[in-house]
């Protein structure tokens, strides 16, 4: 019967949703770091996300016990003017990557409840559109760092177009 098949499908989807609710099993985070600025100034957080599933997964935001407010932002430069805007979500493509990287997508971390110093590790819980989460350790780096410090520094200044990198399989 058509109806029961549909309800079965719904139940299945619901179960799948519940199974996913705890951990974002298909997302792997790397190069997670925070650029620490003096005092209580807002800091930028960066991470590379890899999706090993066959469906895109949308990053919606992140939560933190250290920072009162975490926002997903995007920097852009158009006509020689830099601006920042809030974004609702960032798709991590199926079998692809999305990077939160300087001059592109980033988390803006505001109002630290305690001082964060270079060398500290701060856990941010990444939140995805399907309700899943991923607790990720971010390394706090000095203000003048260019990356997470785990890769060889890129000598070219990062461009504005590397926010989203997808590759086909």
């Amino acid at each position: 019967m058509k109806l029961s098949r549909l309800s079965l499908l719904c139940a299945g989807l619901l179960l799948a949703g519940i199974a996913h609710a705890a951990d974002a099993d298909h997302i792997h985070a790397s190069h997670a770091w925070i650029r620490v600025l003096p005092g209580a100034l807002p800091a930028g957080a960066y991470v590379t996300l890899e999706n090993d599933s066959g469906a895109p997964i949308a990053l919606r935001g992140a939560g933190s016990t250290i920072y009162a407010d975490v926002m997903l932002h995007q920097s852009s430069t158009a006509g020689g003017v830099s601006r920042m805007s809030m974004v609702d979500s960032l798709d991590v493509p199926a079998h692809g990557k999305a990077a939160l990287a300087p001059a592109g997508y980033h988390f803006m971390l505001m109002q630290p409840k305690q001082p964060v110093k270079p060398g500290d590790t701060v856990t941010l819980t990444l939140q995805f559109a399907d309700g899943s989460t991923l607790a990720t350790d971010f390394i706090a780096r000095p203000a003048n760092a260019l990356d997470a410090g785990d890769t060889h520094a890129d000598h070219a200044m990062p461009g504005m177009d590397h926010g989203l990198m997808s590759h086909d399989h």
């Binding site: 803006m108 203000a143 200044m157 990062p158």
Partner: protein, 205 residues
């Protein structure tokens, strides 16, 4: 075989004379900058602001130094710190020559950026960086002088706001003449190259 019109020594002399002439002309020739050469297209460095030690300063106080002028604000978590971090790397690559240069970071957020906040901020990036603040009118005058602009965006309920601002880096020679325009996407190599030209040479051309 045709006879030679010029015996070899005379030819060499002629070549030498030409190269000397060209060499002489070179003094008036533009320096071979890799980034956008703005020599003669932008006014000399001039402003009245307050530095991050709370001291009143003018553009003339930085004569004798090659100046990298950049507009931004401390509540900018991404592009401003990235640009200053890039400039720090460039300064490091210049080695001891970098002492002849200053990064002037001018705040486009007079409401929040005080000299002491700016002091902590610029020193987190590079010892040769100077933070400059001023009232909105003074900062606007400097910004307009270099055909740059900034706009305070509408804030949220908590009073947080962003400032959209010019992303350019203006480079001035030791005499305060505007010479090179760099964007944050310029390569370190090109910026190091152009700063070498300005730091190696005097301020006379």
């Amino acid at each position: 075989m045709k006879p030679r019109h010029w015996p070899r020594p005379a030819l060499l002399l002629l070549l030498l004379a030409i190269s000397l002439l060209l060499g002489g002309c070179q003094r008036g020739e533009p320096l071979p900058f890799r980034l956008t050469n703005i020599t003669g297209h932008m006014p000399d460095l001039d402003f009245r602001l307050t530095d991050d030690n709370g001291k009143a300063v003018t553009g003339a106080d930085y004569r004798g130094k090659v100046v990298l002028l950049y507009f931004g604000y401390t509540h900018c978590p991404d592009v401003c710190p990235l640009t200053l971090a890039q400039l720090h790397v460039v300064m490091q690559r210049l080695g001891p020559l970098a002492d002849g240069a200053r990064i002037l970071f001018v705040s486009v957020d007079p409401a929040r950026d005080t000299p002491s906040i700016m002091h902590a901020y610029v020193n987190a990036f590079d010892p040769r960086a100077v933070g400059l603040v001023g009232d909105a009118r003074a900062v606007e005058a400097l910004s307009k002088r270099y055909r740059s602009a900034f706009t305070r965006e509408p804030g949220d309920a908590d009073g947080n706001y962003e400032v959209s601002h010019s992303s350019a880096i203006y480079v001035f020679d030791r005499e305060g003449h505007a010479r090179v325009l760099a964007t944050p996407s310029a390569s370190h190599d090109d910026l190091v190259h152009d700063l070498h030209l300005l730091l190696d040479n005097g301020a006379d051309r």
